[in-house]
């Protein structure tokens, strides 16, 4: 179906105004729109919006989130556990979100969700307090590998929470500030260490934390 600005649109509708009106000038098409030969098709349900001079997008219940990639990802308000149109999740600008990607293809905007396929949140969702730091993806893979002794040996030393994302970000939280710093130290320090060294290091750090250095 042919639509115009301000309409409620559905995936599969097309929008001719862009290709005819502004043949010469530069047009920006935002999320939910996709150019397919001569037509611009709609790929998302929502309201078609335009911002002068030539920016078009589909407004729907979602925000765009920085995930450390070349573009931002879309995070829908409905992709949280128990979220409805009336009951929105509390997500503020500046929050850290532990989510997973459902779409990651070359031409489309990536999309995040905070629920699994059964509608449960599991561990996903907004992460409060703690600290986030960036590191190499190599390190993420290393600490997530079942052979890595880091988390195994650290969990005996002091309680903490840790979430490692494949976008090179690690979120950590422990009972005190000093323990959080110690955890960050252990994780970053483990990057170029062998398994034996990691074990040694985690003992060392917990000794430092307890106040006596040997």
């Amino acid at each position: 179906m042919k639509v115009s600005i301000g309409d409620v649109v559905l995936p599969g509708d097309y929008f001719d105004e862009i290709s005819t009106d502004n043949a010469k000038s530069r047009v920006v098409i935002g999320p939910g729109l996709r150019k397919e030969e001569d037509h611009v098709y709609i790929t998302k349900a929502g309201v078609l919006k335009k911002k002068n001079p030539h920016t078009y997008w589909i407004d729907s219940y979602q925000k765009r989130v920085d995930i450390g990639g070349s573009t931002t990802a879309a995070l829908s308000y409905l992709s949280f556990e128990g979220a409805t149109k009336k009951n929105r999740p509390e997500v503020q600008v500046g929050d850290i979100i532990y989510a997973k990607l459902v779409i990651a293809s070359k031409d489309m905007e990536p999309e995040l969700v905070c629920i699994d396929s059964f509608g449960h949140k599991g561990r996903l969702g907004v992460l409060t307090d703690g600290f986030v730091f960036k590191c190499s993806i190599n390190l993420i893979r290393k600490i997530l590998s079942p052979q890595c002794p880091l988390l195994e040996s650290l969990k005996n030393e002091w309680p903490f929470e840790l979430a490692a994302g494949m976008n090179g970000r690690i979120w950590i939280k422990a009972n005190s500030m000093k323990e959080t710093i110690a955890l960050g130290n252990a994780v970053l320090g483990a990057e170029f260490m062998s398994q034996e060294e990691i074990k040694k290091m985690s003992n060392n750090i917990s000794a430092t934390l307890a106040g006596h250095v040997y």
Binding site: W158, A164, M177, N185, L188, G189, N203, S206
Partner: protein
């Protein structure tokens, strides 16, 4: 690319640890990162690094006509360039507020303090003077650009030597470096800009890192800024050459005094280091040793590209401790391994899902004091 956005988690965490008396990288409040100076093959080129912040400076000179109002003075020109190499949010060939700010600050510090004898740069009054141009290129931005680029400017100016000139009647001959020994620039005093981050109007932090700088100048939810950056320009005689403050106003004059006191100590040590490095470089050059930037590239080392300092670090953590002990006592490690394996976790920290580890807190008081008593037994 947009500027890296700082999450609320990071802001709150940094603010809290600083007010508790810690810093993210384990330094004390008045501790600076390691200062490194490296000279290039030509006079007046150097790379200065403070921690991971790196600035390349190059001085060049040419003969120009002097300004009308100062016919017997040479010209000093400072140019700062920040490329995407420094940090991804910068664009190539575009002036940002930061570039203008840095440029202005350095010109204030080095031109207005009259540390360079500009009259010695005069060749023929009203006709020919030397124009010195300092080009600064920011190679990596990890906080405290001001201090790093000011030291780079100072080092390159102090290291620079201009070609000798002889006048015979009307004509002026500029000798090449091979013909006549080049002439060093005359510096009356050595001013250095030192940066301090002020948190909550009472905590003073020297040499702030990128994240500390960003948190310090960012705004809180109620619209106020958390703190501000104070730049103190000071020479080795403890004379103030520049004072600059950005963001939140200072309510407390005491903090400026503390900053100046701290700056006095640091500026002396920095200037001493600069002088020592220049003398060392001079001696090497007289022995015809080849000096160039290749010295700072580490080769034959797997981790040569990895960062030397950890961004998050405990105060007493030392990476060499671990390695050394490893070498000395290989048998001990085996013992440790046997010890650890049968030991049951004192907490229910379970790697339940593949990407997470979570505390399932045991009931009652925190049991982590237990560790200290136990590890006490272990070590004794």
């Amino acid at each position: 690319m947009r500027e890296q956005f700082l999450s609320n988690c990071e802001k709150n965490f940094i603010k809290k640890i600083i007010l508790e008396g810690h810093r993210l990288d384990g330094r004390n409040y008045d501790e600076s990162r390691k200062l490194d100076i490296c000279f290039g093959s030509e006079y007046g080129s150097c790379i200065v690094s403070i921690g991971e912040t790196k600035v390349l400076a190059q001085v060049s000179c040419e003969v120009v006509q002097p300004k009308q109002i100062r016919p017997n003075e040479g010209i000093l020109y400072i140019n700062v360039e920040i490329s995407p190499m420094a940090a991804p949010q910068f664009e190539a060939n575009r002036q940002t507020d930061l570039t203008v700010y840095l440029n202005r600050l350095l010109e204030k510090c080095y031109k207005d303090s009259k540390c360079i004898d500009l009259e010695s740069l005069c060749i023929v009054v009203e006709e020919k003077v030397w124009s010195l141009r300092v080009d600064l290129k920011i190679l990596n931005h990890e906080g405290n650009l001001i201090e790093c680029s000011s030291i780079a400017t100072l080092v390159s100016l102090a290291h620079f030597k201009r070609p000798d000139v002889t006048r015979s009647g009307e004509s002026v001959i500029i000798h090449t470096l091979a013909e006549n020994d080049p002439i060093p620039t005359v510096l009356y005093h050595y001013p250095v800009c030192l940066t301090f981050a002020i948190f909550q109007n009472n905590v003073l932090i020297s040499d702030p890192s990128y994240i500390e700088e960003t948190v310090c100048t960012s705004t809180t939810e109620d619209g106020n800024t958390i703190g501000g950056l104070l730049v103190v320009g000071m020479n080795q005689y403890k004379e103030i050459c520049l004072l600059n403050h950005t963001e939140a106003a200072i309510h407390n004059s005491n903090i400026v005094h503390r900053a100046i006191q701290s700056a006095a100590e640091r500026s002396k040590s920095v200037v001493d280091l600069i002088k020592a490095e220049i003398i060392r470089d001079d001696n090497l050059r007289q022995k015809r040793t080849k000096i160039n930037f290749s010295d700072i590239i580490t080769t034959n080392h797997v981790q040569s590209l990895s960062m030397k300092d950890l961004k998050i670090c405990l105060k007493n953590y030392n990476i060499n401790d671990i390695k050394m002990e490893e070498d000395n006592s290989p048998t001990e490690i085996l013992d440790d391994k046997q010890d650890i394996k049968p030991e049951k976790s004192k907490y229910d920290v379970v790697a339940s899902l593949p990407q997470t580890a979570e505390i399932k807190a045991k009931e009652g008081a925190s049991t982590w004091i237990e560790i200290s008593s136990e590890s006490d037994v272990d070590s004794s």
